[in-house]
C-alpha cells in the first residue's frame, strides 16, 4: 500500500493508501462520516487535497481501490479501459488534469475523444479538487448524444422525465398525471413510472396503458416501467411493449448483489430490448439509476468514499450504452447527504463525473423531509444543472411524489428551466408539442385550447 503524506505549516499528514487519501480529500458529507472514513478536520481535508493533486492519474490503474480479484466492477473498469483515449492525459497528475480540463484549449471534441480513457476513480479524484463552478464549467463542455424515439443531448436542449407515480398503481391516476405533465412539455427523455407493486402483472398493465396513450396521441417519446431488470426480461419474453430496460446500479459487485443484478444480466436485458427494434431515431435502450450512499447502505463499500463509488456505478451504466442515466441525489437521506449544501455539491459532482466519462447524465433533483433542505435548495441545484448542460431532469406533479414520498421537481420547474435559460425540448418531441398547439417557437404557450383538447381526449 502506498503511503501519501503532506507537510502543512510544519505538521505532517499521513494517508495510508489511495482509498484513504480519496476519502479524506472529499468535501464534507455525512455518509463518509457515518462510514468513519471522512477527514478528521477541515485542515486534514485540505492536506489530503494537496497530496491528491500530486498523484499521477496512472496510479488509479496500478492501485485499484476495490480489489480486482474480488469485484467484477473493478475488472470491467480496468479490462475495458481505452488506452489510446487515455494517452493525451496519461502523463498528468490529478492536479494537472484539473487545470487541463478547465483550460480554454480543451474543447468539446477533445473531451468526447477522452471519455473512454477516463476511469471513474480518475473522474472522482479530479472532482475533489474542483469547486462547484469548475464542475459546471467542465461538464458544460462535455457533449453526449443518445437517441431512441427522441434525440437527447443536443446543444441548447434539455430533456425531462415525466414521473406520474401513484401509490396504488391506479391506471387512471397515472394517466391523469401523465396528461398533466404533457401540458408542460415534459416527457421527452422518458415517460417513466415507478410501480408501487413488484408484480410483473401490474408492470405489464402499466406498460400497456402508457404505450396505448403514447400511440393514441402519436407522442414521439419512450415509455418505461421502472421495475427490476428480471421483471422487464419476463415482460419482453411475454411480448409486452418494452421500450427501455430500467435498473438501479451501484459501484461494487457486493452492492449490486444487494440489488440482485450482475453485469451479465444487464447485457442480457439490453440484447433482449434491442431485439424488439422499437427505437425510431436511435437504439439506446437502457435507463440506469445511481445515487451516492447505496454501497454503504448495503454494507459493501470497501472503505471507499461514497462519491468514488457513485462514479464506479456510472462506469457500470457506461458499459451498457444507456439512453439516460440519473443520480437520485437527495433521495437516500440525511445520513448520506445531510443538507442542501451537501446535496448541491453531490448533484454537481455526479453530473460532472458522469459527463466526463461520456454518460447521458441526468439528475433527480430531490430531497426527503428529514433532510435539512427545501424547494429553495432544489431551485439552486436545477439552475446550476441547466447551466452545466444536464441531459435531463425528473419532474412530478407539484414536486410531490405521492408514491415514493419525497420531493422532486415540479412539471412547472421544467417549464421554468426552458423559459428562463432558453433551453428547448428534444427536436422530435418539440415538433409534436408544436403540432398539438402547446408550444410555439420552442416556448410553452399560455394555457388554452390545446390543453382542453388533450384533457377531453
Amino acid at each position: 500500500m502506498t503511503v501519501y503524506s503532506t507537510t502543512l505549516g510544519g505538521e505532517v499528514f499521513r494517508f495510508d493508501g489511495l482509498a484513504r487519501l480519496m476519502a479524506a480529500a472529499t468535501p464534507e458529507r455525512s455518509g463518509d462520516q457515518l462510514a468513519g472514513i471522512a477527514a478528521g478536520s477541515a485542515v486534514e481535508r485540505v492536506a489530503a487535497q494537496v497530496a491528491l493533486a500530486e498523484v499521477p492519474l496512472r496510479a488509479f490503474l496500478d492501485e485499484p481501490l476495490v480489489p480486482y480479484e474480488a469485484d467484477e466492477v473493478t475488472r470491467m473498469i480496468l479490462d475495458t479501459h481505452d488506452v489510446a483515449a487515455f494517452a493525451p492525459v496519461a502523463g498528468m497528475t490529478v492536479g494537472g488534469f484539473r487545470d487541463w480540463l478547465l483550460s480554454e484549449r480543451v474543447l468539446p471534441d477533445r473531451l468526447a475523444r477522452l471519455a473512454k480513457g477516463v476511469t471513474p476513480e480518475m473522474a472522482a479524484a479530479v472532482s475533489k479538487l474542483m469547486r462547484n463552478r469548475d464542475l459546471i464549467a467542465v461538464a458544460r463542455k462535455c457533449r453526449v448524444q443518445t437517441a431512441f424515439r427522441t434525440t437527447l443531448g443536443l446543444p441548447g436542449r434539455m430533456g425531462s422525465r415525466l414521473q406520474p407515480n401513484h401509490p396504488a398503481d391506479d391506471l387512471a391516476g397515472i394517466a391523469a398525471a401523465t396528461l398533466d405533465g404533457l401540458l408542460y412539455g415534459v416527457g421527452d427523455a422518458v415517460i417513466g413510472v415507478n410501480p408501487a407493486s413488484d408484480s410483473v402483472a401490474t408492470a405489464t398493465e402499466l406498460l400497456h396503458m402508457l404505450d396505448g396513450l403514447r400511440d393514441r396521441h402519436g407522442i414521439p417519446a419512450q415509455t418505461c416501467v421502472l421495475t427490476h431488470v428480471t421483471n422487464t426480461l419476463e415482460m419482453i419474453e411475454a411480448g409486452a411493449p418494452v421500450d427501455l430496460v430500467f435498473q438501479s446500479v451501484a459501484g461494487t459487485q457486493a452492492a449490486n448483489d444487494g440489488f440482485g443484478v450482475t453485469l451479465a444480466m444487464l447485457e442480457e436485458a439490453r440484447q433482449a430490448a434491442l431485439s424488439l427494434g422499437r427505437g425510431t431515431v436511435g437504439q439506446n435502450v437502457m435507463y440506469l439509476e445511481t445515487g451516492q450512499g447505496s454501497a454503504l447502505s448495503a454494507g459493501a463499500h470497501h472503505g471507499v468514499d461514497q462519491q468514488t463509488l457513485e462514479a464506479r456505478a456510472q462506469a457500470v451504466a457506461r458499459h451498457i450504452d444507456p439512453l439516460i442515466v440519473n443520480t437520485v441525489v437527495g433521495f437516500i437521506g440525511p445520513e448520506y447527504l445531510y443538507d442542501g449544501k451537501q446535496i448541491l455539491r453531490a448533484g454537481l459532482e455526479d453530473h460532472f463525473t458522469g459527463k466526463l466519462m461520456g454518460l447521458p447524465m441526468g439528475v433527480d433533483v430531490c430531497y426527503t423531509n428529514h433532510a435539512e433542505a427545501d424547494q429553495d435548495d432544489m431551485d439552486v441545484l436545477m439552475t446550476c444543472l441547466g447551466t452545466a448542460g444536464v441531459h435531463f431532469l425528473i419532474a412530478v406533479p407539484g414536486a410531490d411524489d405521492v408514491m415514493l414520498n419525497y420531493q422532486s421537481l415540479a412539471f412547472h420547474d421544467i417549464a421554468y428551466m426552458r423559459e428562463t435559460m432558453g433551453l428547448r425540448a428534444a427536436p422530435e418531441y418539440e415538433a409534436w408539442l408544436e403540432a398539438v398547439g402547446l408550444v410555439e417557437d420552442g416556448r410553452l404557450l399560455p394555457e388554452g385550447a390545446a390543453a382542453r383538447r388533450l384533457l377531453a381526449s
Partner: protein
C-alpha cells in the same frame, strides 16, 4: 365546479397527486405554492419536534420507563442511524420478572405520530392480547427500530413490539409503524421482523385495526418461534406488508 366547467375534476378524483394546479407564468399559482409549503412545514415540524413523553405516559394503562439512545440530539440522530439503534450507557431497565412481550414506543422520525397514536395503539395491543404479560411500556427517545432488540434482550422478553414514528410525507406527517421481532437481541436483521405500517387517521389503519394485525403476528410468532420473512400473515390488513423502510 362541475366536470363540464373544470376538466380536471374527473382526473383529480383518480389520484392524490398535485395535478391540474394551473400556473402563473411558469410558476405554480400562489395558492398551490402555499399549500405545498404548509405540508412541508408540517412534515418538518413532525421530524424536529420533541415528544411530550409525560403526556404519553399519562395515557398508558400501566407503568412506563424512559430510556434514550446514544444519539445526542436531533442532528446527531439524523446523521448517525447507528447511534439511534443502541441504548445510552447506564439506561435504567430493572423491571423485575421477564415479560412475554415488551412494548416500546420510539420517536423515530415523527413526534407527531407518537403524540397522535402511540399510546392508543399500545393500549389496543395490550387489550388484544389479554393472555400475555407485558412489562412496563418502554418510552425510547431519539430511537430507531433496532433499539427494541437491545431493550427486549435486556428485559428477557420473548418478543418485542416497537411502535415508531414513520418518516413524514407531505400528505401524512403523523403515521406510526409497528415492528414485531421474536427473540430480540442486538444484531437482528430487518428481514427478521414483521412490520405493520401506515397507522394514522387520514385513510390509514386505525389503532384497533393495527392492534388486531399486531396481535395476530405476536401469537403466530410465539407459536412458530420466529418473525420476519418466514412468517407470512394471511389475514394481514391492507398496507401491513408494504415494505416500509426503517425510519
Amino acid at each position: 365546479m362541475n366536470v363540464a366547467m373544470d376538466p380536471w375534476a374527473r382526473l383529480r378524483a383518480a389520484t392524490p397527486a398535485r395535478i391540474g394546479l394551473g400556473r402563473s407564468g411558469c410558476a405554480q399559482p400562489l395558492q398551490a405554492q402555499l399549500a405545498f409549503q404548509l405540508a412541508h412545514a408540517r412534515a418538518r415540524d413532525a421530524v424536529h419536534a420533541a415528544v411530550d413523553w409525560d403526556a404519553v405516559a399519562e395515557t398508558l394503562p400501566g407503568a412506563s420507563v424512559r430510556v434514550r439512545s446514544q444519539a445526542e440530539g436531533r442532528a446527531d440522530y439524523l446523521k448517525r442511524p447507528d447511534l439511534g439503534r443502541r441504548l445510552a450507557e447506564g439506561a435504567a431497565l430493572d423491571v423485575g420478572n421477564p415479560p412475554d412481550v415488551v412494548l416500546v414506543i420510539a420517536d423515530g422520525l415523527s413526534a407527531a405520530a407518537v403524540a397522535a397514536s402511540g399510546a392508543a395503539v399500545a393500549r389496543a395491543v395490550m387489550g388484544a392480547l389479554p393472555e400475555l404479560s407485558f412489562g412496563p411500556v418502554v418510552l425510547a427517545e431519539q430511537s430507531r427500530v433496532a433499539i427494541g432488540d437491545e431493550i427486549g434482550h435486556r428485559l428477557g422478553a420473548r418478543l418485542v413490539v416497537l411502535l415508531v414514528g414513520e418518516r413524514p410525507g407531505l400528505t401524512v406527517a403523523d403515521s406510526l409503524g409497528a415492528y414485531v421481532t421474536y427473540a430480540p437481541r442486538v444484531g437482528r436483521r430487518d428481514s427478521e421482523r414483521n412490520c405493520v405500517s401506515n397507522i394514522h387517521g387520514q385513510g390509514g389503519l386505525s389503532a384497533e385495526a393495527a392492534a388486531r394485525t399486531i396481535a395476530w403476528l405476536v401469537r403466530a410468532a410465539l407459536d412458530r418461534g420466529l418473525t420476519g420473512t418466514g412468517l407470512k400473515d394471511a389475514s394481514l390488513a391492507r398496507g401491513a406488508e408494504a415494505g416500509q423502510l426503517e425510519p
